[in-house]
């Protein structure tokens, strides 16, 4: 598995994390090692296991559905206000007139 600095940089953009040049090199090297290990998952032969599971799978499907159905946690459509609302935004840095304020976004 080859991962380039450019790729790591793209990932950083998606994740909103900045790495300096040094960090970028280090992370790329580390990723190289980690992905080397992770690559083994690609070789793993699922077919044998899948064959086995297919048969069971067919019967299991209905069971799975039933299990999911029994386990389903849904909420009634009822309005309940949060009891501790005055503390809800206690951790917010910049609030004015009930709004959270951030630097202006130009759309």
């Amino acid at each position: 598995m080859n991962i380039t600095k450019v790729e790591v940089q793209h990932i950083c953009k998606l994740a909103k994390i900045k790495l300096g040049e040094e960090g970028l090199c280090k992370t790329t090297a580390e990723f190289e090692e980690i992905l080397q290990h992770m690559k083994c998952i690609e070789k793993f032969d699922f077919e044998e296991e899948a064959m086995k599971s297919d048969k069971e799978g067919m019967q299991a499907n209905e069971n799975i559905k039933q299990t999911h159905e029994e386990n389903q946690t849904l909420r009634k459509d009822e309005v309940v206000a949060f009891r501790n609302h005055e503390k809800l935004f206690k951790n917010t840095k910049d609030m004015k007139d009930g709004y959270i304020r951030i630097p202006k976004i130009i759309e």
């Binding site: 991962i3 790729e7 790591v8 793209h10 990932i11 950083c12 998606l14 994740a15 909103k16 994390i17 900045k18 790495l19 992370t27 580390e30 990723f31 090692e33 980690i34 290990h37 992770m38 690559k39 083994c40 998952i41 690609e42 793993f44 699922f46 296991e49 899948a50 086995k52 599971s53 029994e70 386990n71 946690t73 909420r75 949060f82 501790n84 503390k87 809800l88 935004f89 206690k90 951790n91 917010t92 840095k93 959270i100 951030i102 630097p103 202006k104 976004i105």
Partner: protein, 485 residues
């Protein structure tokens, strides 16, 4: 300390029967903390005054003959990724250094209802990512058996606090071994219950499909009582189980000695330290002596499993930790010209190295073009692991294995090699991937007097069997060694 005062069951019983007061208990434990905490660094925050007030209220209730809960007067340490109203919940991260939750996690509500008293929030690896508690943004916790060693992680503060007699019970969270491994390193009992047994509402998510809260205690009975309090369906957690839970796990008569136990040979490979292996095999022999039937089985735990774990947990983490962007709460950078910079700089400045590594790794495996090669494959692997376990549990009651390849390692030994650290989780992660329960308990010590842990893995909701076997083994081993600080 009186023996009754050392355990959860002892304290809860003693307080109720007025053998001693809750306030006395709290004072004793607070004193232990004051004396030894500088050596151990188990806590991120403590609350002496409020804890004492709460204890006094319990004593008043008892004096008036009012009902007190099942954990009346029991001091508890709570891992700092479990939300507590009015007490900081930092996740050992600069990101949440001053964060105070406006609500209690479900487990906290349950503890309070049963009269437990929260003494403090324990140290951990930042956002529960790590195996040594060295990834805390605030302090490094020491292993009470040897201060130069790590207590394990990520629930290292919780484990060290119990082993150091700072609390008889603490809560940890386990995503890939984060309760079991520190329990093993600190010579205590740690339980990762069946996924869905204990509500995750209020647990700051690392990897939602793997995370479970669990108790860490000094003995099996304490662990049992704690689980009985903590378990149960929660309408606020859609992944919480709706089954009827066993109310009492340890009844007087049980026949653990008639169980059939599997020993997966792959858990005893070359990477396993010889002393650890001998100690576990010794325990296995003790069980055999008592009539437990033991067979060696095959349960591949190759690198694929570790990979599957790191792919899934990092993927989920990358998404779960995206909300920390400096906008609504948490750390906000002072260097920004626009929202984009505000988010990037806040995250870059406040997340530690390991957290960033996992976020990036998780982002990578989910990103366009790699999803199928990684996440999808990992998901299939996960299904395969479930089937493998299913096969074993169709023939055996429980599985016995080591918890970690070695005993507690030196601080600084592995922190610079992510891969070495990840290998710590080899025996534990498959349990989380399959959603199974597993218990870690002390089964002996190595030549350096460091505790060795043994893992009991059960099928879904087979905690009862696990407890019975663990209790049987615990009483036969009768390990009396204690931490001397």
């Amino acid at each position: 300390m009186d023996a009754d005062m050392e355990t959860v069951c002892g304290i809860a019983g003693g307080v109720k029967e007025k053998k001693f007061k809750a306030a006395e208990i709290i004072e004793i434990y607070l004193k232990n903390i004051t004396k030894q905490e500088t050596k151990i660094n188990a806590f991120i925050s403590t609350r002496a005054v409020k804890a004492l007030d709460e204890a006094k209220m319990i004593d008043e209730k008892i004096a008036k003959g009012e009902r007190v809960g099942r954990l009346a007067g029991v001091p508890v340490g709570v891992k700092d990724n479990i939300c507590t109203e009015g007490i900081k919940t930092t996740c050992a991260s600069k990101m949440l250094e001053n964060y105070i939750s406006p609500y209690d996690a479900t487990v906290i509500e349950k503890l309070k209802k049963e009269g437990a008293i929260i003494i403090g929030k324990t140290n951990m690896d930042e956002f529960a990512m790590g195996s040594s508690t060295e990834n805390s943004a605030f302090k490094t916790t020491s292993n009470p058996w040897n201060l130069s060693r790590v207590p394990g992680g990520s629930s290292g503060g919780s484990a060290a606090a119990v082993a150091s007699d700072f609390v008889p019970l603490s809560l940890g969270s386990d995503t890939g071994g984060s309760i079991r491994q520190p329990a093993a390193f600190c010579g205590i009992v740690g339980l990762k219950p069946t996924y869905g047994s204990i509500s995750r509402f209020g647990l700051v998510a690392f990897a939602s499909s793997l995370d479970q809260i669990g108790p860490m205690t000094k003995n099996v009975k304490d662990c049992v009582l704690s689980l009985e309090v903590l378990q149960g369906n929660d309408s606020r957690d859609a992944t919480s189980s709706k089954r009827k839970f066993t109310a009492k796990y340890l009844l007087d008569s049980h026949d653990a000695n008639k169980m059939k136990v599997a020993i997966p040979k792959q858990f005893f490979g070359d990477e396993l330290d010889a002393e650890v292996k001998n100690s576990i095999m010794g325990s296995v022999e003790r069980l055999q002596d008592m009539g437990v039937k033991v067979d060696e089985v095959s349960m591949p735990i190759d690198e694929e499993i570790l990979s599957a774990y790191y792919i899934i947990s990092s993927a989920e983490a990358s998404s779960n930790l995206a909300r920390f962007d400096g906008i609504r709460y948490g750390y906000r950078t002072s260097e920004y010209n626009n929202v984009e910079e505000l988010m990037i700089n806040s995250r870059t400045e406040a997340f530690g190295e390991e957290v960033k590594r996992r976020i990036l790794l998780g982002t990578y495996v989910l990103s366009a073009g790699y999803y199928d090669a990684f996440y999808n494959k990992a998901h299939k692997m996960r299904e395969a692991i479930k089937r493998r376990y299913h096969d074993i549990f169709s023939k055996y009651d429980l599985i016995l294995s080591p918890v970690t390849p070695t005993v507690a390692f030196e601080k600084g030994e592995k922190i610079h090699s992510p891969m070495q650290m990840y290998l710590q989780d080899l025996y534990t992660v498959s349990v989380n991937l399959a959603g199974l329960p597993a218990l870690s308990m002390n089964c002996g010590f190595d030549k350096n007097n460091l505790p060795i842990g043994l893992q009991i893995i059960g099928s879904h909701y087979s905690e009862e069997k696990m407890f019975q076997l663990a209790y049987l083994l615990e009483s036969k081993l009768d390990l009396k060694k204690k931490v001397i600080l």
